[in-house]
Symmetry: C2
Subunit: 505 residues, 2 copies
């Protein structure tokens, strides 16, 4: 079996590797065909050098040509849909339909096309012309972007095709993608299509580069390398914080999407008014993608009482009636099991589930803890259990709910359910300011899963959900602004100005 | 002599201090009247608590009221001009006129008024409404901002009145200002006027708080405190990087303005065409404020030849004909002397000056080094010599100029002088891309000093000039966006939305 080639400096070539690995079919626990290299430093070095050259050329290329590439890449992904869905299904156990083929793949090509349109439109760069003093400024590409994609979206967040990729390229930067080692085959196919589209549209060959894996030390070294302009990372908090420290030490912009519990607060009146409907929505959201979304509701605050008991019983019944599906990988299964144990050790009790089922499956799990117990151990009880497990915190009263909220870390989202007749309004007014400042997206009467690709979206939030509360990873054009520097032109002669800053604008 | 009070939680009160200090008149080296406390942790803690309360109230206050405060504060500064100029002059040795009274004070009130207008206008927050999916987002205040002002602008960058202050308040955040210990008396006067304006306009009393000094460990502790939303710092690289590390470790946004050499490249044709004019401009820029601007030209790249020798001789004569004035403080004088020694030890030779003159004055200094010598020690030869000293690098040819440029760190500005008849154009094309990506503001035929308060300004740049290349410290409204988080509202009921996100918009 020959080693899969890496894409470096415009060539598919044998990696300079320190080791090889194989992907695993999470449903069967069998190794999948195909050996993939763990690139050693010379591969990283070669990619960085080539990216610097590509960056210089890209700065001179009109946005229309970059847009053509993004569009052509989207078309090629669509043309290769069957292969992509097959390989991604084998590597992740995510359903071929509707998930991979009908939802995630169209989302991916939609993002690429939105990015293409934004590149042409140009307003993402926020040009400002002060003709009186002859000073002009706009956002501009900031150099090669290294993107680490996560395990849970093999297409839509893939380092070589996903949201960060689309944003970085549309802003005019070359990308070095590091595949997620759980789906190297999917990433290889996407990189093949990206590279073919690069060739078809005449971009510099190293506009898109891809390696499958690196040793952790080389990852940290790359992130701190002066040749790199910025980093995008979606993944675990542990890995992300190490990369952040390495980038911060050298002042390199790094955009992280780390963990999130996505707290949901369900006020008493809402449970009086529509208990069963909320049970339905909550369970659906918890089990969507088997709980493996960044926005899965991991922590719910409920007010002690009969309606809450009814709600919990309702959720329990639903969860027990649904068949757990295979998790994304052995690693996800192991982490989920370990996290649930941490939550239990900190005082959470299993209402249902709490145990592994074998075959990388985990029983649909609902945990509960009192407000008192939560406040005794707020840090441990915010351990993210990524997968089909969720914790409810049953508080005594509004005062305790507010106290729980003040202990919440930064999150991507926060939801509040209230009744429609006004009985919850006074409590809403107290709760919402505390939740608002701790989350990037505040929802009403809606579960957090489902991240629309809208220009108004914020898929971001305060640390440790991300590394900076001012940026979003989803939503064109805002997501593009992460991969840009502010460039000012002071008294620069007219013919030397970027087109967008000339007087006719 | 009684200790000056600190402004905490809406009261001027005695500090809980660990030590006292006095300001020094840099011109006479005498201690100035007035004892100022070094606040200990309980003061910091009290300020943080009060700021959190003020932040919650400020979120509910209409921007018009915040704008009224900014405007009223500007008026009060103008009414107290005589006192402010007297005290600032005594503490900094900067000339009363035109500098303090006619330039810096009007700049300060102009910034406050521009911030007021931007707060009312509201477009700084970039509201986006996607009515189809009922998702809306905008930038919003992110909580108390701690501002460390620098030594070199007692008004315009003061933590309690300067650009960061105006931006943070206009974005809706309370400010905790740490005075620069070189001008505590000036800062006290400004804080008095700010606090009076807070009272007159009905903002929460702790909207503005001020302490004079803290122990370094308490500064680091404050920066990392969860009650704080963000930090603004303008000052030395050493102090700034320590604060950055503390903030980064807890994911706290910190905006830094650190050192900058502001490279100037003078192409051969420009020296043929207008040697004397450029000598004049360069010398004027170097000596402006005695070289104590963040944008003072500290490193000039010249091409070996007779015209460059003529230029250097011209600058030498001008510098020797100008009388050095008193530096901002004993610390600035000592650092300047030490930095010039480092440059000399690394191979730079003094064309003129290079020595202390006593009384916190330093001889106007021009150093020179060959391109070869620069490339042998590029890091040491980028030591910032803050004050009236500047280094010229005389390169052999274009190739060497490009090599020197690739070794430059991130800077606030970069200037290129070229002739107007086209003989420099080919070289310009090679040099400008390299310089462009290393600086926040690129200038043509213009020295970097003089930072217009324009919406198109970028007073920022790649690390280590600042901590993030996407933000500017000067320029309303862009500077306000630093002190904000992105808030998205998904399906939030209409009456609960911020005014700017309602359907009528």
């Amino acid at each position: 079996m020959s080693q899969a080639p890496v894409l470096i400096a415009g060539q598919w070539r044998t990696a300079k590797s320190s080791a090889i690995f194989q992907a695993e079919n999470p449903a069967t626990a069998e190794k999948l065909a195909g050996e993939f290299p763990v690139s050693s430093w010379p591969d990283c070095e070669a990619a960085l050098d080539a990216a610097v050259e590509a960056a210089a050329v890209l700065r001179t290329i009109p946005p229309e040509q970059i847009a053509k590439f993004l569009t052509r890449f989207a078309e090629r992904i669509e043309a290769r849909k069957a292969d992509l869905v097959d390989v991604a299904h084998a590597e992740t156990a995510l359903p071929k339909a509707p998930r991979l083929g009908e939802v995630e793949l169209p989302r991916t090509t939609n993002q690429l096309r939105q990015a293409a349109a934004a590149a042409i439109d140009g307003s993402w760069a926020m040009p400002v012309i002060d003709a009186k003093v002859n000073i002009r400024s706009m956002l501009a590409p900031l150099g090669p972007v290294l993107i680490f994609g996560p395990n849970n979206f093999p297409f839509a967040y893939n380092g070589v095709a996903g949201g960060d990729f689309a944003a970085a390229i549309a802003a005019g930067n070359p990308v070095i993608a590091k595949a997620h080692p759980c789906h190297p085959g999917t990433t290889k196919l996407l990189a093949e299509e990206a590279f073919a589209a690069v060739g078809e549209t005449g971009l510099p060959p190293a506009t898109v580069q891809m390696i499958y894996h690196v040793e952790p030390a080389d990852g940290l070294r790359m992130v701190a390398d002066p040749r790199l302009g910025a980093v995008g990372f979606t993944g675990s908090r542990t890995a992300g914080l190490k990369l952040k420290a390495a980038a911060d030490a050298v002042g390199k912009p790094i955009y992280l999407e780390l963990s999130s519990l996505n707290p949901v607060v369900i006020l008493p009146g809402a449970l009086v008014e529509r208990n069963e409907k909320i049970v339905e929505e909550f369970t659906g959201s918890c089990l969507m993608a088997n709980g493996q979304f960044c926005t899965s509701p991991g922590l719910t605050i409920l007010f002690a009482g009969a309606n809450t008991e009814k709600f919990i019983a309702g959720v329990k019944a639903k969860l027990e009636g649904a068949t757990p599906t295979t998790l994304l990988s052995r690693g996800v299964a192991n982490n989920l099991s370990a996290s649930v144990k941490i939550l239990q050790a900190a005082g959470a009790e299993a209402v249902t589930g709490g145990s592994e089922l074998g075959g990388n499956r985990f029983a649909n799990t609902l945990l509960r803890v009192s407000g008192d117990a939560f406040l005794a151990s707020p840090e441990k009880l915010q351990t993210e259990a990524f997968g089909n497990a969720s914790l409810t915190v049953v508080v005594r009263d509004v005062k305790q709910a507010l106290e729980v909220l003040t202990h919440l870390e930064g999150n991507l989202t926060g939801s509040i359910y209230s009744d429609t007749r006004g009985s919850d309004d006074a409590v809403y007014e107290k709760i919402s300011p505390l939740l608002r400042e701790r989350v990037g997206r505040l929802l009403n009467d809606k579960m957090p899963t489902g991240v629309a690709v809208s220009p108004a979206m914020n898929h971001g939030g305060p640390f440790p959900a991300t590394g900076h509360p001012g940026f979003t990873a989803v939503g064109i054009p805002a997501a593009m602004r992460r991969f840009a520097m502010l460039q000012c032109f002071d008294n620069v002669r007219p013919h030397r100005l970027p087109a967008a800053l000339r007087d006719k604008n």
